[in-house]
Symmetry: C3
Amino acid sequence: MKRTLREVADHLGAVLIGEGQAEVTGVASIHSAKAGDLVFVEEKKNLDLALSSGATAVIAGDFSGNDIRLKPLLLTAQPRLAFARAAAWLLSEDSCSVTGIHPSAQVHRSANLHKSVVVEEQVVIRENVTIAENSWIGVGCVIGAGTKIGRDCRIYPRVIIYPGAVLGDRVIVHAGVVLGSDGFGYVRDSKASRYEKFPQIGRLEIEDDVEIGANSTVDRGALDVTRIRRGTKIDNLVHVGHNVDIGEDVVIAAQTGVSGSAVVENQVVIGGQVGIADHVRIEAGAILGAQSGIPSKKVIRGKGVVFWGTPARPIKEYLRDLATLARITKRSEDE
Amino acid sequence: MKRTLREVADHLGAVLIGEGQAEVTGVASIHSAKAGDLVFVEEKKNLDLALSSGATAVIAGDFSGNDIRLKPLLLTAQPRLAFARAAAWLLSEDSCSVTGIHPSAQVHRSANLHKSVVVEEQVVIRENVTIAENSWIGVGCVIGAGTKIGRDCRIYPRVIIYPGAVLGDRVIVHAGVVLGSDGFGYVRDSKASRYEKFPQIGRLEIEDDVEIGANSTVDRGALDVTRIRRGTKIDNLVHVGHNVDIGEDVVIAAQTGVSGSAVVENQVVIGGQVGIADHVRIEAGAILGAQSGIPSKKVIRGKGVVFWGTPARPIKEYLRDLATLARITKRSEDE
Amino acid sequence: MKRTLREVADHLGAVLIGEGQAEVTGVASIHSAKAGDLVFVEEKKNLDLALSSGATAVIAGDFSGNDIRLKPLLLTAQPRLAFARAAAWLLSEDSCSVTGIHPSAQVHRSANLHKSVVVEEQVVIRENVTIAENSWIGVGCVIGAGTKIGRDCRIYPRVIIYPGAVLGDRVIVHAGVVLGSDGFGYVRDSKASRYEKFPQIGRLEIEDDVEIGANSTVDRGALDVTRIRRGTKIDNLVHVGHNVDIGEDVVIAAQTGVSGSAVVENQVVIGGQVGIADHVRIEAGAILGAQSGIPSKKVIRGKGVVFWGTPARPIKEYLRDLATLARITKRSEDE
């Protein structure tokens, strides 16, 4: 989409310094920018580099001053955020290859799809599914019976949704994700020493503005519900077990696992490869360092506190323990 | 499926306390139960809660006594197990959307499928595949040449089986699983410092009653066989390497990895994100705590012993080491 | 493919000891070998076992001497490598079930596929894709617009390639892999405490001779490029984040994660479940033990040095720390 700098400034609520009639069509890094691109700088020391790049204009912070520069500036308090919004706006037309329902898709006659929904090749949509306006279902997705998908969702190719899941609006699910699969629950017959399947018949609810990375898996509840709340972002290859409740605006990096019945409260930040055992509670705003491990039933408390290690403890303690160990080792070698 | 309490009691071998003619159709948690549901309690302290729930009847233990209560009771030595069995029985009709072989499936003429097999949309079945009675192959699975699948299996959508795998009866494979892929084996040409592929042409055998979670991967043997034995349960996103031999009734939680040629004996319990290196042997009945790591070629021995940490050691040692460290740190801070 | 031992010896540049007219068709382990198979031994102590196996001939090292034995020998300096090459040669005809473009595949008219390319059932190939000679695209792959795939590639079933990726020659991508998905990048609106998507619009470039294991995920660059260089081998369920640069002839075992903007230089060896945080640099030839963790922005340096633990340190230090701890624990128990 082509927009003048004046239009972009208005859209972002930014202050335009310089001429506003030049047109931009996309965004880029400073190193790769060419005419038609916007770039951004967050620190004054990078401004000159941005000004000498191939970009048409620079989104920058108040540190830039109001002088006319080599290129037009768009001044804003949060340049990175403005850049992200400019990108979303300029690239919003980036289009599907297919419109409407592809003839190779199989949509059950009881399904209720808004007429603006795009359904790509080979998608299978079962009984009583509903999908709201402007949602896009990529090639080969399987949408189980009774699933509800909100508006403006993007479901990338080969996503499998087991029956009965509920997705809010603007949910993004990347390729290969499995939603609503059976949780890992068995009962051991103490006489036969064999495992039998505990019923995995609950629901999965994913609220608005959640994004889930490629090949992640989210199990439905055993008897009740697994829930991922508004605005939470989940990276690739993450596992979310049955009955888990993940709060709002939580961030979970790749390959982390959240075991059954764990609770992760709002605005928690979780690094990669973290392991959260069953029935754990991570209270609001805590930060779990990469690879840390939270044993079964523990409560982690501390807004803004970073935890690390297995079992996870405040990072200060963890680093102090490591330092102690190094010191003793050294001392015993010196003896 | 609708059954009277009397029928359920007979099916479970439970003692019915109260009237037997009420009908049930499903199971639920105590919190969500409604008329027609069964619930269960394992501890006496929860019995009153169950009796005041919306459920039609309660599966409970001997602790309940023989008095007539507000609701009918089904008494049994293992209430959780009885509940699981009741669920399996009542919900067994939960039906496929499709019967027979969907016209969009591609089944090679040399494949031999029992007439009761269900093959959903877009499944591809290659040469000489055999599938026994009542198995269900979900949307878009690819079943490689020569694969044998037993009876009553459930292969969920988009499972990929490389050629030549053998699956027993009642095997459940969740969506997105890859079975029989090439193992990770290379030979380094010491002159060129480059890796060349070591042949990955062995087999994969999965025995009866195994369940494998969503998006897990199991490699075939390099030259011989990878084997998962009867009754083993594997969670989501687990990796099983080539030539691995996993025993009977083993439980493996999510995101664990079992490297090439490792042996896991019967009734081992493995937590989430555990790493088992190549040529390790985990002897029968050992328990590996979440995130523990077993270095190459180690043997872990101890029925019922919990191991933890990397390298894994008996949990008592691991916790003692952590306590020692904390004590020393504290002492050195006090000095 | 059937070849005489003389032909195999010529192909491998091996010295044939014994008769050359016998024919072989495959390879096997010593335990499972039968007539027509080649086996190999790397150590003299295993030679007798190989000679008494069912194999037709044995690939062995110089240690075997030049005497005529029970079976013909193929002598070479690197027997395992020769065995791998013999396997690749003998089994190279192992054929696709389908030739040409299957009628159920959807190939955009602007795509440019060499006439030797095999496209299996239900593949979807978008605008302006190019695929060079002899490449094979398995069932149900989705190849996004503008993707370039070199010659002799094997793309296994259900691989999803987001638009714009570039793959070199002889690249092998196993089932379920997702290439070019959006990286995990958000901007937090400091006023609303909500995350917004940072643009993920860069490229993914995978060079010649790379192999990627089942269900792994590789994100494209945010604004620039994610790159995996020549000859690198990646196991199952590995995550590679946006803007990562992985060098040549790197080996990465299963379930490892490489976070955004990390650099892994040539010939690094990475164990399973390793976590590499963002902006880390692993310098050429370093070796990272399984489950080790490299914190954000760290540099790991040391050709041939093994690092272990979280945070990773040279394995000597890690083991010394563990030994110190055990000693102190013991001493304090003795007191």
